[in-house]
């Protein structure tokens, strides 16, 4: 068995600690998210006709869909920072939410008259710009999530990283949605999904590395 010297060393190193609870973790993420959103809005990044479009179903989809998945991701990630709790139940909830959001996108596509060519509706040139902006806007949440994961002790780092990556990516999409000038559900369904997927994969890799202990 390890010698008493190790125990003496650990006892000698003992300091009072601030516990990493679920409410505290969520509060940290909420402060980061609210701060980023406040800065984004204060910089005048909201689309000029936002008041008029705010009642449109596509605007609701753009805002509510990513926000719900981001909240579920944050909850699943923070919950799993203690080794005796897994992120997997939260991931199942997120998968269900993503399914509902994608189904809602399909419904919006079906209800929207298609009077232009599909390629024009998808608009790949601007779509790539959207993806880059969503990725950039997910960085603050990604960094906060990664630091929390590093501080915690997730017993299933891959699941924690996936929840954190998807949650951060969706938060970036939510913040971007205030500025997004496009309302075509085909465009939104494709490029928001790609933006979230790309950022989530990057986030999963980053958080996965930092979450090991």
């Amino acid at each position: 068995m390890p010698s008493d010297a190790l125990i003496e060393k650990l006892v000698g190193d003992l300091r009072p600690v601030r516990r990493l609870s679920v409410p505290r973790g969520l509060a940290i993420l909420a402060v980061v998210g609210a701060g980023e959103l406040a800065v984004w809005l204060a910089c005048g990044m909201v689309r000029p006709d936002f008041a008029r479009t705010a009642v449109w179903p596509t605007t609701w989809w753009k805002l509510a869909g990513p926000a719900l998945v981001a909240l579920a991701g944050a909850a699943a990630m923070v919950r799993s920072l203690s080794p005796d709790r897994s992120a997997r139940p939260g991931l199942r909830v997120m998968a269900g939410l993503i399914g509902v959001v994608l189904a809602a996108a399909l419904l919006l596509v079906a209800l929207t008259p298609a009077d232009t060519l599909l390629l024009q509706r998808i608009d790949p040139g601007y779509g790539i710009v959207c993806v880059a902006r969503m990725a950039a806007l997910s960085v603050p949440m990604l960094v906060a999530t990664a630091l929390l994961a590093r501080d915690g002790a997730p017993a299933d780092p891959d699941a924690t990283a996936l929840a954190g990556g998807v949650g951060s990516a969706c938060w970036g999409a939510f913040v971007f949605a205030f500025a997004c000038p496009i309302d075509d559900p085909v465009y939104l369904g494709i490029w928001y999904a790609i933006g979230c997927l790309v950022t989530a994969l990057g986030g999963r890799c980053l958080i996965g590395r930092l979450a090991r202990w």
């Binding site: 125990i7 516990r19 990493l20 005796d84």
Partner: protein, 177 residues
């Protein structure tokens, strides 16, 4: 008050910086961890696993929620370090056990390693045999090769794959719970 409640109370005191309670907790956990790992790991790596886990408990003590039972938290940390150790063994298949460790009481340790036996039984016979020979009984790769008829490279591959599969089995079981 059960032992689990008592450990939770001692850990809560440790989180607040009380050295006496924390020392008592670590001493009791050291014995518990030894019992945990002796049934799950080859004898030569048990001390290292206990040491790693005690350090992890110390470094991650802020993640223990004092409103919840302590034992599930402890078991989760120990299991994580167990999987870690199995992975590390699979990355270094040629590492030999200390000769003294391999001889001294290895038989009883192997006999008591019920969890390890269960895991080994899930592997292919060729993998089981070489892991038992090299990791539990202290044979060299060459000796294991001569005894089994497998080439040295195949012995290494079988050890690596077998240990990796064991780690995956433990992980899958942990996630299913």
């Amino acid at each position: 008050m059960s032992g689990d409640d008592e450990w939770g109370r001692l850990m809560a005191a440790g989180q607040d910086g009380h050295g006496g309670a924390y020392r008592r907790l670590l001493e009791e956990l050291r014995r518990w961890l030894f019992g945990f790992f002796v049934r799950r790991l080859p004898p030569g790596v048990i001390d290292d696993a206990v040491q790693d886990t005690l350090i992890a408990i110390h470094e991650k003590r802020h993640t223990y929620d004092r409103d919840r039972p302590f034992k599930p938290w402890l078991v989760a940390v120990a299991r994580y370090k167990w999987i870690d150790r199995l992975r590390s063994l699979s990355r270094t298949p040629t590492e030999l056990l200390d000769e003294e460790v391999a001889v001294e009481g290895h038989e009883s340790a192997v006999m008591s390693a019920t969890v390890l036996d269960q895991l080994l039984s899930e592997l292919k016979p060729a993998q089981q045999t070489v892991i038992r020979l090299v990791k539990l009984e202290g044979y060299s790769i060459e000796e294991a090769s001569a005894r089994t008829g497998q080439s040295s490279s195949l012995v290494k591959v079988n050890i690596h794959r077998g240990l990796a599969r064991m780690a995956a089995l433990v992980e899958r079981h942990a996630h299913a719970e």
